[in-house]
């Protein structure tokens, strides 16, 4: 009978119309500024540098090894190595970046730098309200540095795993150091 399909379609949208008043599955709008969806734990936007302790610049984990600069697909990271060496969390003397710029206009937040970084010093942030009125979109070391505490907040499971590995290495290094003097004094 001509029109039966049209009627079934009308019934379908009718059911949706009535359903939208009582069935949450049929009204899926999130009114953005007032209601906000809880951010996913794995979400990633622009990268940031992790620092330990209190002082953002001194506590940076980054050792300016420029692996991320080479591997970045969009070539948006620029690193200038500092001349003086400073001890890192294992006591080894490491360089530190004098200049660490990320051009936020070029970065496509792909996360490749996080994967290739051997020192867990660069991680992906989760903040996505990045609109600003200034055109200064080249993020310098100062704007990039964020505390490990903040990192543990936004990516709990990942941060816990990273911290556990670092503590393990620190413990092994300290145990090696404690055992080392015994060998030196025959």
């Amino acid at each position: 009978m001509l029109g039966r399909g049209i009627l079934r379609g009308l019934i379908e949208t009718g059911r949706n119309f009535c359903g939208s008043y009582y069935d949450p599955a049929r009204l899926t709008t999130v009114q953005y500024p007032e209601e906000k969806l809880p951010p996913q734990e794995n979400a990633r936007t622009l990268p940031f540098l992790v620092y330990d302790g209190q002082d953002p610049l001194a506590g940076l984990r980054c050792t300016a090894c420029t692996i991320c600069e080479q591997e970045c697909p969009a070539h948006c990271i620029r690193i200038v190595k500092d001349t003086v060496k400073k001890p890192d969390y294992l006591g080894k003397m490491q360089f530190h970046p004098k200049v660490f710029d990320i051009d936020a206009m070029v970065c496509m937040s792909c996360g490749v730098c996080v994967e290739v970084c051997p020192f867990d010093s660069i991680k992906m942030d989760r903040v996505f309200e990045l609109a600003q009125d200034r055109r200064a979109l080249v993020l310098h070391k100062m704007n990039l540095a964020k505390s490990n505490q903040y990192y543990r907040e936004i990516h709990p499971t990942e941060a816990a795993a990273v911290d556990a590995a670092r503590d393990e290495e620190q413990r092994k290094a300290r145990a090696k150091k404690a055992a080392a003097p015994a060998i030196l004094t025959p």
């Binding site: 794995n42 979400a43 970045c72 697909p73």
Partner: protein, 384 residues
Amino acid sequence: MIAPPAELPAPGRVGWADHDLLEVAMGPHHPSTHGVFRMNVVLDGESVAKLTPIFGFLHRNHEKIAERNSYLAAIPYTDRLDYICSMTNNWAYVLTVEKLAGLPVPDRAEYIRVIVGEFTRLFNHACMAGFLLQDMGALGTPLMYAFREREKILDLFEALSGSRMMCNYLRFGGVRCDLPGGWREQAAGVAAAFHPFLDQFEALLSENEILRARTQGVGVLPPALAVNAGVTGPGLRASGVNYDIRKVDQYGIYNRFKFRVPLGARGGDVFDRYMVRILEMRESLAILEQALRDIPEGVFLDPKAKLRNLRPKAGEAYGRIEAPKGELGFYLISDGGPAPYRYRIRPPSLVNLTVLEDMCLGHAIADVVIILGSIDIVLGEVDR
């Protein structure tokens, strides 16, 4: 058409003197061309006399970029090829590099790849049906239904890979990270909720007389022309040719799943292409249920897989997968260096457009829009 007064510029007068033909440029700034795609349509009254597609508006020379960067650095760029199905783009590229370098892939990673690949096919076909109806004038209701389901799947992808559309999730020899806790149950829930959505979608559309009147017998693609013109994917199967790369190449672990390949019933018109995609969605759901049920535990990335300086031996490889839009292939030539010597993408959308003019000749201008919608192209992949 009444001749315009002499002093006014003659609108688009075409060479054919004897016929009053009207040359209309549809696109690139046109509401229904699925991106920046332009068609110069020569109209004889309302029916199409000639149609020339024009591409290149979204050309970023992705292949040149990939030939300058390392193998790993090309993966985030493959997300931007067919920007609706980023996971399957990654898969095609990673599959080819694994073929080129001979890298083994653990079982759990293969299962994860099938799961995310089939999820991508689900919402790609749903979006295609939604956009097709939008072109037909159904004010976005089917599109909104399709997008509502797509949002659920994109949330799963964001929980898994970090980003909704630009997933950058697959790596050579596996996947970037394991399934987060509870993801499998959520995914099973979303897959289960997809059946009622499909019934709702079919109730709204497949029976609709206006939809059938507008699409049956429109844009018929004969099988012989389809094969010769290299049309692949649901468009080819709608013409009755049984060629699904998941069954032909059996890449990944598709031979472990039981699923059927729907074929067109009436020689491949727009309605067939629409219905084949709807039936394919049900098959993808069947695969998803099987994959989610028996995904094994174990390592998700081959331990020996080198992430950074992967330098495959000199040689070449052509790998291809059944992407939602057709056969997506990658052809890599390596000269032993860190970057591919030649990096070529076989775009299903571009090759499927070869037959656009053949299907549109003689149809009304309203049908041209629907035929283009039924081919399901994405300009990121056409122009690369």
